[in-house]
């Protein structure tokens, strides 16, 4: 009798809707029926509205069912997991949402078992590192530069240029730091990589270490992500045990060690210099730049600090070459952007596509419109510091420069959808309040401005001297924009002013959106 293979994801989004219970129910049911079944735990496919998405291995490929709950399991066995079952989805790889994506960074995500190094290697893992070990450090950096990869953490700074600064910096003690703080609402791509393909991040950081001459790396993960931390710890231990980390990486004579550090619930620790302070054991207070972390970073030494996605994209660039990667995209935005579609949307999930797709295509062709079935009103792109975009701006292509042209940001690619019931003045107030709670406190415009911002918006909402307070709010935003030391205070005006400009009626103002856009 051949063993039937069934995949049940173990990413935290699947666990949060009962994947462990589904896996246990499948095992118990198989036992009871005397069936020979092997339950494997893959990562998520990123089709999050279908979680728990269960896959059955067939000669034609993996066949999906979802969303499955533990209570559905007996009936699925009764139907012999046949395509006729109401939860049947067809071959997973052919579901249009997935089939139309261009998965480079996420190529293995959902397919492999995140706890298996052998599975990683069987799916082209560690080919990038093997290539890198045969190259001179400057050649590795040149390859990353030529790929056009820009930092995926928000600021979109070219990764190769950053690495080159660290490579050329004097001294032998250097560090690679991975920014896995992912505090933005609407973002979960870093989490998915860490939970569903942790080895790709370990490999990317190892390549970075070899490239710039750093022998040690830290992954700073937020405390809200215990599953990600557990998966990374397992991946690091396995990689070390098999010689992919340690004093002599794959016998090359080069050393690279990796360690996970846990954050402690402070949004500002996503800002790179605050993160470094935190790793050093201090409060996460932003450092003034210069000096750049590339020259004086962790413990005062030259440091590459990159987002999870930036580092996790390096292995495929080394494996397939810079030209392969840079063929995707548009303008100065090269390669692919992992878009995270969330909030009030029917089909939320992870969508990796070449830059250039429009917001409207994402919202309707992928997202299927709002979850509530009501009209979509506003879309916030780029996290809590990103602008709210009204429908007139949804034909904008996802491209760093195009968004900058709208006075908006792509940030980490998070998209949060709100339906027509959203109160934009309330959301603007929330943005100010978030800044007040999360400000590191170093500079006045941010620390005091955000608190004042909440008060002023409260006055506007209750109708006290509304016109004067709107003027005051704009003035306050101007001060924060121009006077803040970092983007926390410097970008909070984005959600606030975009809400005010595009949805003035929510602030009790006449509609001026035609002029304000």
């Amino acid at each position: 009798m051949t063993t039937m293979q069934i995949y049940v994801p173990c990413d935290s989004a699947a666990l949060a809707v009962g994947a462990d219970e589904v896996a246990a129910a499948i095992a118990a049911e198989a036992l009871q029926r005397g069936l020979d079944i092997r339950v494997l735990r893959n990562g998520t496919r990123g089709l999050l509205w279908l979680e728990t998405l269960v896959e059955v291995e067939t000669p034609a490929g993996r066949f999906g069912f979802g969303p499955v709950e533990a209570a559905d399991v007996p009936a699925l066995f009764d139907a012999a997991w046949s395509p006729g079952h109401p939860l049947a989805l067809g071959l997973v790889a052919e579901i249009p949402y997935l089939a139309r994506q261009q998965r480079l960074t996420f190529a293995r995500v959902g397919i492999t078992e995140p706890r298996s190094l052998a599975d990683y290697i069987a799916h082209d893992g560690y080919r990038g590192l093997r290539k890198a070990l045969d190259m001179a450090p400057a050649a590795i950096v040149a390859e990353v530069t030529a790929s056009g990869l820009r930092g995926r953490g928000g600021a979109a700074f070219p990764t190769g240029i950053k690495w080159n600064t660290v490579l050329k910096a004097p001294g032998s003690e250097k560090y690679i730091v991975c920014n896995a703080d992912e505090g933005d609402s609407g973002t979960f791509a870093d989490r998915i990589i860490m939970e569903s393909d942790p080895f790709v991040l370990v490999e990317g950081m190892t390549i970075a270490g070899i490239a710039v001459g750093a022998a040690r790396g830290y992954i700073y993960v937020r405390s809200e992500y215990p599953h990600a931390i557990a998966r990374l710890e397992t991946a690091i231990a396995l990689a070390r045990h098999h010689g992919y980390l340690g004093t002599n990486v794959l016998g090359s004579g080069r050393a690279f060690e990796l360690e996970v550090r846990k954050g402690a619930g402070a949004y500002i620790c996503g800002e790179e210099t605050a993160l470094l302070e935190s790793v050093e054991g201090k409060r996460g207070i932003v450092r003034a730049k210069p000096p750049l972390p590339a020259l004086a970073g962790l413990f005062g030494k030259p440091t590459v600090i990159n987002n999870v996605l930036s580092l996790a994209t390096v292995p495929i660039i080394l494996d397939k070459g810079a030209a392969y990667y840079q063929d995707y995209g548009m303008g100065r935005s090269r390669g692919t952007l992992p878009v995270q579609l969330a909030g009030n949307i029917r089909h939320g999930g992870l969508i990796e596509l070449a830059f250039g797709v429009t917001l409207r295509e994402i919202l309707y062709d992928y997202g299927g419109g709002s979850a509530s079935g009501r009209p979509i009103k506003a879309v916030q792109v780029g996290g809590p510091l990103g602008a709210y975009l009204p429908e007139s701006q949804w034909d904008t292509p996802l491209d760093y420069e195009a968004f900058a042209g709208l006075w908006a940001v792509l940030g980490h690619g998070g998209i949060v959808v709100h339906d027509d019931r959203a109160d934009m003045a309330k959301l603007a107030r929330y943005a100010m309040e978030f800044c007040a709670i999360e400000s590191c406190g170093k500079c006045t415009p941010c620390r005091i401005g955000s608190t004042r911002g909440v008060e002023v918006i409260d006055k506007i909402r209750e109708g006290t001297q509304r016109t004067q307070h709107v003027v005051l709010l704009r003035d306050l935003c101007d001060t924060m924009l121009n006077g803040s030391l970092c983007a926390m205070g410097g970008m909070t005006p984005y959600p606030v002013l975009s809400a005010l400009n595009h949805f003035p009626e929510d602030f009790g103002q006449a509609d001026t959106s035609q002029h304000a856009a």
């Binding site: 935290s12 666990l15 949060a16 609402s185 609407g186 054991g281 909030g343």
Partner: protein, 189 residues
């Protein structure tokens, strides 16, 4: 690694002393394992909170001495981070996501429901100290909003009805546990 579970109901001085003794064991182990470089301060605080449930203010001087830092510095670090607690947590900590994606799917209503169902406010805890309600800003479950955690286990697509079912589950577990062990303090080192 040694672990200690300390019930918040621990009130008698004898019990409190026993709990602190257990905490000293955890701390000594962390100090020995992690060393005294300042970059190990957060790992030590995490280890202590993991083992003891919180960072007892009585032990801050000892931590400061170990790292050769001032009391103010260590206190400053503990209070800067939202995650660290200076008091024992309620037996069951519920953290409701308040960030934008969850708001768009009814997080505010879920929070109202939670407050009414538990009879306690945000940042507060129930009269018997069993449940505490706290805000959190994004759990990375934004596509399956609204989301919350119960003692760090994540739950997504949480409707008010699912909230009630989850709480009922916690209470049922509690009833089973208290039937099994009569003692209010259990320390395993």
């Amino acid at each position: 690694m040694p672990t200690a579970t300390v019930s918040p109901a621990a009130v008698s001085p004898v019990v409190a002393a026993a709990a602190l003794a257990a905490i000293d064991g955890i701390l000594a182990d962390l100090f020995a394992r992690l060393g005294d470089r300042q970059d190990q301060l957060l790992p030590v605080l995490h280890g202590l909170q993991e083992g003891a449930g919180y960072i007892p203010p009585e032990r801050v001087p000892e931590i400061a001495r170990h790292f050769n830092l001032s009391l103010a510095e260590v206190h400053g670090v503990i209070t800067f981070y939202h995650y660290f607690r200076s008091e024992p947590p309620p037996r069951c900590v519920i953290q409701v996501c308040r960030a934008e994606a969850c708001q768009s799917m009814g997080a505010d209503q879920l929070l109202e429901h939670a407050q009414a169902a538990l009879g306690c406010g945000l940042h507060g805890h129930t009269a018997d100290g069993a449940f505490g309600l706290e805000p959190v800003y994004c759990l990375g479950q934004c596509a399956s909003a609204p989301a919350l955690t119960i003692n760090e286990a994540v739950f997504a697509r949480v409707s008010p009805a699912r909230f009630d079912a989850l709480i009922a589950g916690v209470l049922a577990d509690d009833a089973r546990t208290s039937a099994m062990q009569a003692s209010s303090v259990e320390v395993t080192v």
